[in-house]
Symmetry: C2
Subunit: 309 residues, 2 copies
């Protein structure tokens, strides 16, 4: 298969595709497939007729949909695939790593050998913990898989309230009464939700006051899901026990912010998903999707060009 890669190729993707026997060419050299990882304004005005498939290098293609790009080329028989789900396991693993680091008090470890302190403060995930996953989509499902062997009781929270497989129960985010129970009974709260007007400061002083004193919160969604100042106060006051943050608001968190100093707060610099990983996977995804296309099948991440996902 010949493919073009615009606006500029990712080395890891190209390496993977070369190893799989595919050839990178210019758009003018009649590629079969286009890998595209730019914005709407970067999309070529015209595609050669040879292009049958466009593999997008990211998950959300709303911008291409709104610019009419999907519809225009679909009208000429071009099919689109996105990169949905491509970082579910990276983010789910990073989430579990943060959760365990907070529960196991890694940051409180001292070279002064504070074993007695850690004996008292270490908590275990498997120890009859109630875990709430707020925004339980693809990443949440992966996190459910990763945490299942620990026997945690999982409440999935999503917009629709439609049952999430593997969770002990699913709650709709708009169900005020059920959410009261989620906030007040969970030992671990993981935030994976997108940022919308409804989810901004979802975790504020009011919600933090409802949470258990032993509760830990992990945010790998968007920083502004949490009111940072309210979180800082809750942690200082012992209203909750700890936090693991891959995203913050503001981001980067200023170097003099008190959260950096707290030994019950583990921060990673928005690294739950990693470009190098995306790059490697997009190559494999394009190759797999091309195989499916060539076999006359639906592609694994085929985009409904009207719905845009």
């Amino acid at each position: 298969m010949k493919y073009a890669f615009l606006p500029s190729p990712w080395k890891e993707s190209a390496d993977h595709l070369r190893a799989a026997g595919h050839e990178m060419v210019d758009l003018s050299e009649n590629p079969d497939l286009l890998i595209f990882r730019g914005g709407a304004s970067d999309f070529p005005a015209e595609l050669p007729e040879s292009v049958k498939v466009v593999q997008i290098g990211y998950a959300g293609v709303e911008q291409l949909l709104e610019a009419g790009i999907l519809a225009r080329h679909a009208g000429c028989g071009v099919r689109f695939a996105n990169a949905a789900g491509i970082y579910d396991d990276t983010v789910a693993e990073a989430t579990l790593a943060l959760l365990l680091a907070v529960l196991h008090r890694h940051k409180a470890v001292s070279r002064e050998w504070n074993q007695e302190q850690l004996f008292g403060e270490t908590e275990y995930l498997f120890d009859a913990k109630k875990l709430a996953i707020i925004g339980a989509g693809g990443i949440g499902k992966k996190l459910i898989e990763f945490t299942a062997p620990f026997g945690v009781e999982i409440t999935a929270v999503n917009r629709s309230g439609r049952d999430v497989s593997g969770a002990d129960r699913t709650v709709a985010m708009g169900d005020v009464e059920a959410m009261e129970v989620v906030w007040s009974e969970s030992d671990c709260v993981v935030l994976l939700a997108p940022l919308t007007p409804e989810t901004r400061h979802l975790v504020d002083a009011t919600v933090l006051a409802k949470m258990r004193n032993n509760a830990v919160i992990v945010n790998v969604g968007r920083g502004a899901l949490i009111d940072t100042e309210a979180l800082t106060t809750a942690l200082q006051d012992g209203a909750i026990a700890g936090a693991g943050l891959d995203v913050t608001d503001p981001e980067p968190l200023p170097a003099d912010h008190p959260l950096w100093e707290m030994d019950n707060v583990v921060i990673t610099p928005h690294t739950a998903n990693i470009p190098r990983f995306m790059a490697r996977r997009v190559g494999a995804l394009a190759a797999r999707n091309w195989e499916l296309f060539a076999a006359g099948d639906s592609m694994s991440t085929e985009v409904d060009v009207e719905a845009g996902y």
Copy 2:
């Protein structure tokens, strides 16, 4: 059920047993069961005839066996249970926490927002990793459960070479040729073995030189399984990528030891197993074993008083 708890009770065990309706009494008040967590010299010279079951508060009862205590009381119809397996999941979870903290470079995080560095250095467990578990007993089996969803390829190493369920292969520690492959091909090496003359400095300069540059090693067995100075050198030279240590040699590791400073070394102060947890669980274990005994069944951790386990 009435029980005595010698040499002195654990509060958490007593709390659990009280909640379950059992009553703590002195040894002189005809208890049905004795919970014992001392050494051979602490064991009462005589047990009242009322005592049918002795629940030991730890796993290894060799000392009681050698002192003849098991045989003597077994001869009078007393049955013994130990606490085998009681910390498998605490240690396995702590092991996974250390492994993830090293792979995800938690200690390298900087408030100077070193995102680019972490993009480059973070590794994922699920990413086609080969994991070797050296000393794969009960804890190892639990670790296999916890890591199974990550799709890692697991090599279990034990003394007998007898197949460990859930591992992709099992290797006998004495199989020199197979161990060469284990050392040279594993991305993650977890040490869970007991310390014996054969396992002392199992990981020395020679073994470290065989390991992959990207390899990380996690020790939750005994500190002296690793030659600490050789490990320090290997980490300084980049011969291996990182280490997670719950045990060290010497222990505590001196506050000025260079391992403390390394951002690819995560150390916890021998807290993979936690007394508070043991204490809580011994109560539950004693209650469960009493139920089994009362029902005429074999107890869940019944000791073969001749074999001593």
